[in-house]
Subunit: 125 residues, 2 copies
């Protein structure tokens, strides 16, 4: 390994989502109690209008990520925005990374895909 | 019209869902406050483990519908099951129809599809 390589910052892989996405489409078979417990947490996190807007702001933001500094028009204070983003992270819907002053949030695409699949009709309707 | 036809029961169309499903994928653009308010109600209704199991029981039940009489293994009483089914109906996720003694619940496929679309990555990931 050259000295240059040794000096490159090592990017750690992102921590896995707190809650693993799961489960076949809801139309396919009933969820078990365990599956429902984990999945309900994610739905609950999106069950607040402000949190849902923040989630959509991050999900649709340029580059697929956003920090509190990018979000100013949801009608709540920056600490409240931070609080909600933390809740979304705890539910496994967002991952975060600190860069300098700001923490950047990113939607976990695999989680989004799994939740979408859950709500897809098994018949493709 | 023959007499036989006249005697056939008239099936009324199902009442429209209480909350209209809406919105493009969350990755496409941020939701407006109004869009988020209606959609958050649906996510909130699925944000309880027992309700989510009940919803999956109805969604995956033979014929796409179920009554309280079909549901016995979620660990809560029949009145509690009825209460949760009513909440899911109020959120626009289920429709219901009384037939004799029982009320039958059915998943609103257009709502399920709209929620699935919402959680689909715009890039198809």
């Amino acid at each position: 390994m050259s000295n240059a390589e040794a000096l490159l910052p090592i990017l750690e892989p992102e921590a896995p989502a707190a809650v693993a996405p799961c489960c076949p489409p809801l139309t396919e078979r009933p969820l078990t109690a365990e599956e429902a417990a984990g999945t309900a947490k994610m739905f609950k996190a999106l069950g607040d209008p402000v949190r849902l807007r923040l989630f959509s702001l991050v999900a649709s933001h340029e580059g697929g990520e956003a920090c509190v500094c990018d979000i100013s028009d949801v009608g709540v204070s920056q600490p409240t925005v931070s609080h909600h983003l933390k809740k979304l992270k705890e539910a496994g819907l967002l991952t975060s990374e600190r860069r300098g002053t700001w923490v950047y949030y990113r939607v976990e695409p695999s989680v989004l895909a799994a939740m979408g699949r859950l709500l897809t009709s098994a018949t493709g309707a």
